[in-house]
């Protein structure tokens, strides 16, 4: 029996993901249609809600900043064959690092607080991911299960810390006291009037720099080569003289550090204090972003912008189209993960067949296969 020929590279990298993505949006549109609303109307509402004004665009960029961090975290681990599902927990505990630096250096200028808080976020997030990495590398426990467990442990830990350790003496709510105005990370609105009243801040530039940095790390350094080799073939990596367990631990720590930067954006730049659940599932959005961006920083940048737009547009959606709540965005996100991630292979055989039909040298083979298929 003849075998389908593999797809040309451009079809594999661009066409197939685009088809999957289209399917995700078509199904989302069907959900909107099912409740008696016009999907095009909804889409327009999301688009204007996300890009319609400086205010809307500022919020879109603020969400996108978080999603770049978590998307890169998932992608970096994925290149080493690791599925870091614990971005949420890593970002959440990283908040402890940021708030510790900010409150200890109370009254210090932000130019000093900012780099230290950034390092603290990366350090604490990194540690929270290092433990699952260590357990995978040295004890053989599956990193997916451990990171899931660590998400829940992080949630419990943070509730405890906010209720018993960090709670402001004057307040009732489980949240830390406010960071002094001088120490807060400046928002872009302070320099650019276009972004008036929006939370997008300097961490956006860090996110963009990291897109470039992670690209360079993965494809232009020896370590990047080692981690990709591990991801492709652990045995080959070992025979090439790399220490697999060391790479696993370093990659997981880096991945956690990237996820931890969500806390840098949220705590030092937006909330200006530590609050419950400030991560708001950014870690899970990171999975969708990485899948959609095909684990490439360029794709991740675009996907993060798209999801930022969906989140911001989704917030506005309910005011424009009655009945369409922001849960619609969660549904779209789930469908993107389902179709571009788990059901990635849906169109592959069909597409491969179509490609063979349209290349003269394979056409006969394809026809033969078709008739053989219909007989069996």
């Amino acid at each position: 029996m003849s075998v389908l020929k593999p797809l040309p590279r451009w079809a594999d990298v661009v066409l197939l993901p685009l088809l999957n993505l289209t399917l995700a949006f078509v199904v989302s549109g069907l959900v909107v249609l099912a409740i008696g609303q016009n999907p095009l109307h909804a889409m327009w509402a999301i688009a204007t809600g996300a890009f319609g004004s400086g205010y809307n665009f500022g919020y879109t960029l603020y969400y996108a900043t978080n999603f770049i961090f978590t998307g890169l975290a998932v992608a970096l681990a994925a290149h080493a064959g690791l599925f870091n599902i614990g971005g949420n927990g890593q970002a959440y505990v990283a908040g402890l690092g940021v708030i510790a630096v900010a409150l200890l250096l109370d009254g210090t200028h932000w130019i000093i607080v900012m780099p230290l808080a950034m390092l603290a976020a990366m350090l604490v997030g990194g540690i929270w991911a290092f433990i699952p990495g260590y357990l995978q590398a040295k004890r053989g426990s599956h990193v997916v299960i451990t990171t899931i467990m660590f998400n829940f442990i992080a949630a419990a830990l943070m509730v405890y810390m906010l209720n018993y350790v960090l709670k402001a003496p004057t307040g009732m709510a489980p949240e830390s006291r406010m960071i002094a105005p001088d120490a807060r990370m400046p928002r872009l609105a302070e320099f650019i009037d276009f972004f008036r009243h929006t939370p997008v801040n300097l961490s956006l530039f860090l996110a963009i720099a990291l897109l470039v940095g992670v690209y360079y790390l993965i494809w232009h350094t020896k370590f990047g080569f080692a981690l990709r080799t591990l991801g492709q073939n652990p045995t080959a990596s070992r025979y090439a003289g790399f220490s697999n367990s060391k790479i696993i631990m370093i990659v997981m720590t880096m991945s956690g550090a990237l996820a931890g930067l969500v806390a840098f954006n949220e705590v030092l730049g937006v909330q200006n204090r530590l609050v419950l659940d400030f991560v708001a599932d950014a870690g899970f959005v990171g999975i969708a972003v990485a899948l959609m961006g095909r684990n490439h920083p360029f794709g991740i940048g675009l996907a993060a912008l798209l999801f930022g737009a969906l989140y911001q547009g989704g917030n506005e959606l309910q005011y424009v189209v009655p009945g369409l709540t922001r849960e619609m965005v969660v549904i779209i996100q789930a469908l993107v993960i389902l179709f571009t991630g788990a059901m990635e292979g849906l169109f592959r055989p069909g597409l491969q067949f179509a490609f063979m039909l349209f290349t003269p040298e394979h056409k006969a083979e394809a026809m033969a296969r078709e008739s053989a298929g219909s007989e069996s």
Binding site: M1, V3, V31, I35, F83, I85, L135, R139, G140, S141, H142, V144, I145, T146, I148, M149, F150, F152, I153, A156, L157, V159, Y160, Y164, F284, I287, L291, G323, T325, E327, M328, V329, V330, I331, Q333, A334, L335, I337, L338, G341, A342, M343, E344, G345, L346
Partner: protein, 322 residues
């Protein structure tokens, strides 16, 4: 600690471990067949919503259970299609299912009932009421034994008894029937099963189907037996505790029951501690008890207390050789 306290704790333990046990056994079938399932949570949530919505509209708990289980089975089959037929990443499929359930249940709940994502409260026949076992009332006054029988064992909804009967049934199916042997084989060495002329795909779909049925029952238990109506995200991570229990029990049914009872007891304890602090445990934060199932599972996985090794072919889609 007095006896009354202990009895009420054990009673609560039984109620709280039931959904864990159902979800845990659900996961056991598919994971034993080599399909990792981190989507237990999502299937339960879908079922909880569907069951409550149906029960609220029809007024029948049985109709609710039926629809809840059907929705869960359909979700499981979607997940199965991705994981088995399309050979997709099983973990990503699970993540997608969880997210889809979280979004869809709140969204549809708001669309249909306009109560902020909740369903209308269900009562009377729309809910599984507690069953009094024979002689429960008569034996109530007999010290110790009577109290244990009438309070702890009697007076639960039928789903509680079904859940615990599923344990010996699962053990029997898994270890004493041809289907169970094949199921375990397909999780360990699918190629051998295939060579013996048995369809790996068919077996895995059967396993995923059972997973759907049991998750559906667990979900329905949340909304129309334990609770009275569906609330946003009402499964609250129980699907992941069930997953932890499954690993903790090393994928064995009887051990799964004891693990779920332990985790259910911890849950009962932390609920109790939130209202009335106990003298012995006053220094232990509630959050530590909440996190304990996860911490224990991590410690077990790390191999510090025994070793949990899952089915060998777990997580790997099977490709038939040509």
């Amino acid at each position: 600690m007095d006896l009354n306290f202990l009895i009420s704790m054990l009673d609560a333990t039984l109620r709280l471990s039931t959904p864990l046990l159902l979800a845990c056994l659900a996961g056991l079938y598919s994971e034993r067949a080599g399909v990792f399932d981190i989507g237990l949570e999502g299937k339960m949530l879908m079922a909880a919503f569907a069951a409550a919505a149906t029960a609220a509209v029809t007024g029948s708990a049985w109709a609710g259970l039926f629809v809840g289980m059907s929705v869960s089975v359909l979700t499981a089959l979607l997940q199965g299609a991705a994981a088995i037929s399309l050979k997709g990443n099983q973990l990503i499929a699970g993540v997608a299912i969880n997210m889809l359930a979280a979004g869809l249940t709140t969204f549809l709940g708001q669309q249909w009932f306009r109560q902020g994502g909740r369903t209308p409260p269900v009562s009377g026949d729309a809910r599984f009421s507690s069953i009094q076992l024979p002689f429960a009332a008569e034996l109530r006054n007999v010290p110790v034994v009577g109290e244990i029988y009438s309070v702890i064992i009697s007076g639960h909804s039928i789903l509680v008894y079904v859940a615990f009967l599923m344990v010996p049934l699962t053990a029997w199916i898994l270890f004493r029937t041809r289907f169970g042997l094949r199921l375990r084989a397909v999780g360990e060495n699918p190629k051998a099963v295939d060579t013996a002329g048995i369809s790996v795909r068919r077996l895995r779909y059967q396993a995923v189907l059972i997973t759907g049925l049991l998750c559906g029952m667990a979900g329905a238990y949340f909304s129309i037996a334990q609770g009275a109506g569906f609330g946003n995200n009402m499964t609250a991570g129980k699907g992941f505790i069930a997953l932890a229990a499954l690993i903790f029990a090393k994928w064995r049914p009887v051990a799964a029951m004891f693990t779920c009872l332990l985790f259910g007891f911890l849950d009962a304890l932390q609920i109790r501690l939130q209202s009335t602090p106990l003298p012995v445990l006053s220094d232990v934060p509630v959050q530590l008890i909440q996190a304990l199932p996860y911490i224990l599972t991590v410690v077990l996985l790390a191999g510090f207390i025994g070793k949990a090794v899952g089915p060998k072919a777990g997580g790997v889609p099977y490709t038939k050789e040509r």
